[in-house]
Symmetry: C2
Subunit: 405 residues, 2 copies
């Protein structure tokens, strides 16, 4: 049942403590044992023992502290930090035209990246896994890394994916439906491999390294061709019962409204997705087909009324959708990750105004909103973030069994 694929939840009490300590160190960056004990509200003794194990496993290291302004009396604290060299993890984002790879160390720092072009944007499962293998090998080769140093591999893919089992219900990148990737990964790839919805990965990245660090309840909305969302509740990715929730792009914002790619009406994507903007600004004239988001923005800036209206409406509707999220989830924070600048100023302003206007009024302040640029690499980095988490658990477990032996 608990295969390689989903190692979480299988931690005994001791390993759970070690993991907590590790995560505390990671989120603090640099921290002493005493402060860890304080932060986790546990005894120094416990922290000492957990840190011992983590040091033995090579996952953290002691830092010879700066002789600087530590103007304190008493025995100086020994600072601990994540040992970046512990292992490397590859994050891969399967996009339309390429597989984007980012290799990061255990700290999450980039070691190198690589873009491996794809012949076809939609492949059969076996073909996809082989492309992944090719991308991984090429990325390692480019940066002079032995593929064996990669301790884990994490794959972000658009579509409905159950990140806990590796089962894919549907993806725009895969010809077949209902594929169990776990065995394919085991067969073709050299290290433990994890699969998740790409928006979930960005959420994970924000949670581990970005604006969501240390938060328990926050949302990440991704804005590119489509609109996606990752949900962190109680400090964990919420995946829904069947592993395919968070379909913000197909939230209906207008009853009987505009037609969406998915065949339904009034979906958010049908107003704010790239293709919707292109469609709605087209006037039936000449070069419309070639119109890009850039063109539309440009036109709007030059006073084109249609372009302005479409962008304005998109911003407002996006604000409504975010307001719906605030009304439903009441999160601490929302990260709005957009690929290209269609929602740049002044549209971000319009969006925020609409958000405020459509939120149920409580005296408590609204959740913070962070707008973040999201290039292709960020997706891959998000994948890597998940990989780090998963492999960390594997390593801690491994260590545990070694102790026992």
């Amino acid at each position: 049942m608990t295969s390689d694929f989903a190692p979480a939840g299988t931690l005994d009490a001791r390993d759970a403590t070690r993991l907590r300590v590790l995560q505390c160190i990671r989120s603090a960056g640099t921290i002493s044992r005493t402060d860890i004990a304080r932060a986790l509200d546990s005894s120094p003794a416990t922290v000492t023992s957990a840190c011992g194990a983590l040091l033995d496993a090579g996952l953290i290291r002691e830092e010879r502290r700066m002789p600087s302004e530590n103007v304190q009396r008493g025995r100086p604290r020994v600072m601990l930090q994540i040992n970046g060299e512990a292992f490397a993890v590859a994050g891969l984002k399967v996009a339309r035209e390429a597989i984007v790879v980012m290799i990061v160390d255990f700290r999450g720092d980039e070691i190198g990246s690589f873009v491996s072009p794809l012949e076809a944007s939609c492949m059969d499962p076996d073909g996809l896994v082989q492309e992944v293998r090719r991308a991984l090998d090429a990325a390692c080769a480019r940066h002079g890394l032995d593929t064996a140093r990669i301790a884990g591999l994490s794959l972000g893919i658009p579509g409905f994916v159950n990140g806990e089992t590796g089962f894919m219900h549907w993806s725009s990148s895969v010809t077949e439906r209902n594929v169990d990737f776990a065995p394919l990964f085991r067969k073709h790839l050299p290290c433990p491999t994890f699969l998740d919805n790409d928006a979930n990965l960005v959420a994970k990245a924000e949670h581990l390294f970005g604006a969501g660090r240390g938060l328990s309840n926050f949302l990440v909305v991704t804005l590119e061709h489509g609109v996606g969302m990752g949900i962190i509740l109680n400090g964990e990715l919420y995946r829904g019962e069947r592993g395919c929730g968070a379909e913000l792009g197909h939230m209906k914002v207008q009853f009987g409204g505009a037609l969406c790619q998915c065949g339904q009406r009034g979906c958010l994507e049908a107003y704010v997705g790239d293709y919707a903007l292109v469609r709605d600004t087209s006037t039936g004239q000449q070069s419309d087909a070639a119109k890009s988001i850039q063109d539309i923005l440009h036109a709007a800036r030059n006073g084109d009324r249609l372009a302005r209206e479409v962008l304005d409406r998109a911003s407002q509707i996006l604000g409504v959708a975010l307001a719906n999220l605030v009304n439903l989830f009441d999160p601490e924070h929302i990260v709005l990750a957009r690929s290209r600048p269609p929602f740049d100023h002044p549209y971000t302003e319009a969006m925020l105004t609409s958000l405020r206007r459509n939120t149920v009024q409580v005296d408590a302040p609204l959740p913070e909103i962070t707008v973040r640029n999201l290039d292709e690499m960020m997706w891959a980095k998000g994948a890597a973030a998940l990989g780090i988490e998963m492999v960390t658990i594997l390593k801690i477990r491994e260590r545990g069994t070694q102790d026992a032996a």
Copy 2:
């Protein structure tokens, strides 16, 4: 910090185990120790000891088993069940015209109920608490109960309430905003008292006693004057960061749409709330003001086209809103609790069709939908459900400290 008010989260390992065992017994109804061990995946020894404590505390009891079809060899299992007589809890729902009280035993079975009329539908905090006291005393008197037997009291109130702290941001029943009820409760009421949003209470009731028994992720949508929602995620009430999420009634389903009571546009309530139906079926003629939902339904049944259209649209829009929830939360189950019959057949059908049509298509089946009648008493019972849970925790803790002494 951890006052009387929110006893959860303050359980040590042992009490947590006891609580798990107790909840297992509750959700099973009648179960043997061996089966509990199997269900909780723990050792029989642990279960024995936990049950010992629970028996001592009088929270559960052994059932002399039926001599019936237990055609098994070996030592017969001793069945355990919740001891209803352990204590009583009062659930109160603050409605517009009355406070509805239900007194239940520890099993959740009704001991008696009472409706205590209110002079005013909106009171100052002190007045409200005194009305609560009056309602409690009257209910006890009616059923010949000593008020001292009530081990806990739980209050459901419409509005934005932080159920974990007892802090009320706003409620339609209270003249003031931002009231901390906890000290008022301590001052005027004879037993530990808890406060929560009324929709949360119905969710709790479904989780403990209704369609959500044993489920981890499900939603309860309440349909009456307004539209509310309770969210259970990972087996717990999700309250959002500021304790005021789940505002389904103000989810925008139509950009720039119909005007809502709240002053915003396109809210779900503005299409499916009682007052919206009345408004939208009014033709500017004579007795419109007196029109009731019953009248509208009746008119529709008799072929009135406007009434039909309005009800049809309401059903469809409700379906869209539920589809949004499915797309976002991917729950196991949704309970639709409606107070009066505006969404009876054939409108329930229309609603379900709309739900199906607006859900993102995955091969996995849709969550189950249960439609449930929700009379005023159910709200009170929901409140009682929360009360049972809270008091259970208090009792288990109490028992723990007794042991220590």
